[in-house]
């Protein structure tokens, strides 16, 4: 009970501290902090419209965050979600525009193609790490640039729809194959993919022996080897699963938003996912509220810009402050007497 309270209250307290600090910052640039808070509330959480806006923005981050969170269980710092998202989205668009059949069948094929391609892409970083000892953070980052170049080459070359004159795109997947919205809401079904994927990953990591093995690898590789765990397989599997999540995010962007793959997919959702994963301490379940929070901050950003004439960067300042306070507050974990059980 007290442990749960600690797990919730520390980040919430940190968030309040972040808002206070942001208020001070706003005061320094000559804005009224109370008005700022009111606008953040109005833009992100103050009405059903605001909530839908927040949820829609959170959706892609729930999936890309897993691309960092799952490998992190095995001790890997992967920031390659952007590349996996792009290539996954491209694979989905290529499949969606060439496979004929019932919409559900096409969508399943798109999702599978996206997950396979995204998974394989991030596994490259895992394999480089395991077989050649290459730092996976650097290699996954560099793989993003390769992915962008490959993506642009294919979209502007072999996979280009000749009808897309001034905005090179792949062939459209067709209106019937698009993922719709939740009934009565203006939020696409991709959010459900994210929620389900996060829940499954949480079960995998916390409640299965595979997840336990993964965390042993993350805790101490040598101990894991001595215990006879298949370290290489676990590392690659974690990368593959993470990459599959990011690839699926690409499929969702194509199937629920764009209808084809084009340069608009390069929107930084992969990098936003890294931030979400770190704030969530790589806990797949915590990814959900954190994505919601960042989605809300993004939705509020418009209000701050429009009514206070603040630049877009002010939202990044708030994000940055929140990131710092939440990570700093983690050091308080287990140190506050109030939360420590009496027998400990």
């Amino acid at each position: 009970m007290q442990r749960t309270a600690e797990a919730v209250l520390i980040p919430v307290g940190a968030l309040c501290a972040a808002l206070l600090l942001f208020g001070v910052f706003m005061l320094l640039v000559g804005k009224d902090p109370l008005q700022v808070y009111a606008l953040i509330y109005k833009g992100g959480f103050g009405s059903s419209f605001a909530w839908q806006s927040t949820l829609a923005r959170a959706a892609p981050m729930t999936l890309t965050a897993l691309c960092a969170a799952i490998p992190a269980q095995a001790g890997l710092v992967i920031i390659g979600a952007e590349g996996a998202l792009l290539l996954g989205g491209l694979a989905a668009a290529a499949v969606g525009s060439s496979v004929a059949g019932a919409p559900l069948l096409v969508q399943v094929c798109m999702a599978l193609a996206a997950m396979v391609v995204g998974g394989a892409w991030v596994m490259l970083a895992g394999a480089l790490r395991h077989l050649r000892g290459v730092n996976e953070t650097i290699s996954s980052l560099l793989l993003n640039y390769i992915a962008i170049a490959l993506f642009n080459h294919l979209v502007e070359g072999p996979l280009r729809d000749p009808a897309s004159l001034n905005k090179p795109s792949t062939l459209p997947i067709g209106e019937v194959n698009m993922l719709g919205n939740f009934p009565g809401l203006d939020v696409h079904l991709g959010l459900a993919f994210g929620v389900v994927f996060c829940l499954l990953c949480w079960v995998l990591v916390r409640h299965t022996s595979v997840g336990f093995a993964l965390r042993i690898v993350g805790g101490n590789v040598r101990a894991a080897r001595l215990a006879g765990l298949p370290v290489g397989l676990l590392l690659l599997g974690a990368c593959g699963l993470g990459g599959a999540a990011a690839g699926l995010a690409g499929m969702v962007e194509v199937a629920a938003v764009h209808g084809a793959a084009n340069a608009s997919l390069v929107a930084g959702y992969g990098y936003a996912g890294v931030l979400v994963s770190f704030i969530a301490r790589h806990n797949p379940l915590a990814v959900l509220p954190v994505a919601l929070l960042l989605g809300g901050i993004a939705a509020s950003g418009g209000q701050l810009q429009r009514h206070l004439d603040l630049p877009d960067a002010s939202v990044l300042v708030l994000q940055g402050i929140a990131f710092m306070t939440i990570l700093a507050a983690e050091s308080l974990r287990g140190k506050l007497r109030w939360f420590t059980p009496a027998e400990a």
């Binding site: 806006s53 923005r57 004159l165 001034n166 938003v257 418009g302 209000q303």
Partner: protein, 390 residues
């Protein structure tokens, strides 16, 4: 008539009177629910926005408003709107071409009461703006680009665009006089029709001064690649190019790098002369105030939306930067002469015989492609004298 029938009739007639109030009650409940949802969605803001003589205009940019380029040109028009009586402008910058822009438009409409939206980035059109236009049929959406077509797109949407290749031709005249090496350069984002048209117009402008001028083109691959743009500028200077222009979202880096390397630059999108007062020759600028004001005026008076707006120098959709100190009188005279002809629709940039840089005839002798010719919008070649490949 059996008893049952009578009973049945009685039941029917007994329920009838009460049925009316029941439905009425249901209607009231439904109305209340709608009102509740409406207020939750922020709908009550809308009537105030639609009040007589008042208009809330939303403007959305893909990059920063002060980028010395594409977005700044739009923001200058938005700033001009703010001076009009009864007009409130709400702006949002750095909005990616994803679900984010749909939500930004929705938020401007639902939460700020906007009824005219300028989503200014090319990629906002399909699917984002079209989806929002379907959802909010009473709101007007004016998009920058030439994508609107009467048989495909709704009446509450529209496109505005300008024939800026006219100004690139004039840039070319200034460049043609300024170059000593007879080699000029063009830094371009992507090999798409709009960009190719600018490269070709710039080259033809320079060749109208000296027919042997060549134009080296470098494609960076994307709209905002500051590092690559700087590298490309340096590489052009190293190859002997002494005047550059560009078609990228923010020309800042190219103009500054050119000035630092001691060569000249012609601007694009907005006025960059402040960045390099001596090296800046002239520039091709948008004048979006013209279409913005027209849309606002129509929206305020309730006139139907002008769905397809196009224009060049003559219509006031584009303009040129004032000449820099390095432009000699002879160049000014020649450029002003051509500009005067363009203002009178008396000048054709793309006319036959015109060959591309592989030797193929792209416009046969005797054919003139005037600005409104849609064939020009599918341009997929570089004219003779351009060094580069599509």
């Amino acid at each position: 008539m059996s008893k049952q029938d009578v009973n049945g009739d009685c039941r029917a007639s007994a329920t009838k009177p009460s049925a009316v109030p029941n439905t009425a009650r249901r209607e009231i409940v439904r109305a209340l629910a709608v009102a509740g949802v409406g207020s939750a969605l922020g709908l009550p803001f809308m009537p105030t926005a639609r009040a007589e003589g008042k208009l809330v205009v939303g403007v959305i940019y893909v990059g920063p408003k002060d980028d010395y380029g594409y977005n700044q040109a739009q923001a200058q028009a938005a700033a001009a709107l703010k001076k009009l009586p009864g007009v409130t402008v709400v702006e949002e910058e750095k909005v990616p071409e994803t679900m984010d822009v749909q939500k930004a438009m929705g938020s401007m409409i639902e939460q700020d009461g906007a009824s005219l939206i300028f989503p200014t980035s090319y990629g906002y059109f399909d699917p984002h703006m079209l989806k929002m236009a379907e959802k909010y049929p009473k709101v007007r959406f004016a998009h920058c680009g030439g994508l609107w077509s009467a048989d495909k797109h709704p009446k509450n949407t529209g496109s505005y665009f300008g024939y800026i290749d006219e100004c690139q031709f004039l840039n070319g005249i200034a460049a043609g006089h300024a170059t000593k090496s007879r080699k000029i350069g063009f830094i371009a984002a992507k090999a798409i029709p709009q960009v190719l048209r600018n490269i070709n117009a710039f080259t033809l402008g320079a060749q109208s001064v000296h027919p042997d001028i060549t134009c080296q083109v470098i494609f960076t691959g994307d709209w905002a690649m500051p590092v690559k743009e700087a590298e490309a500028t340096n590489s052009l200077v190293d190859q002997g190019v002494d005047v550059v222009t560009m078609h990228v979202d923010s020309p800042k880096v190219v103009v500054e790098t050119a000035a630092r390397r001691g060569i000249y630059g012609c601007g694009y999108h907005a006025n960059q002369s402040a960045l390099a007062p001596k090296a800046y020759l002239t520039g091709a600028e948008w004048n979006w105030t013209t279409p913005y004001t027209a849309h606002v005026t129509a929206a305020m008076s309730g006139a139907p939306m002008n769905n397809f707006m196009r224009g060049g120098l003559k219509e006031g959709y584009v303009k040129t930067s004032a000449y820099g100190p390095a432009v000699p009188d002879v160049a000014r005279k020649m450029a002003d002469g051509v500009k005067g002809k363009m203002m009178k629709d008396d000048f054709v940039i793309f006319k036959g015989p015109l060959k591309d840089n592989t030797g193929k005839v792209v416009i046969p002798s005797g054919t003139s492609r005037v600005q409104t010719d849609v064939v020009l919008e599918q341009m997929n070649y570089l004219v003779a004298g351009v060094v580069g490949k599509v």
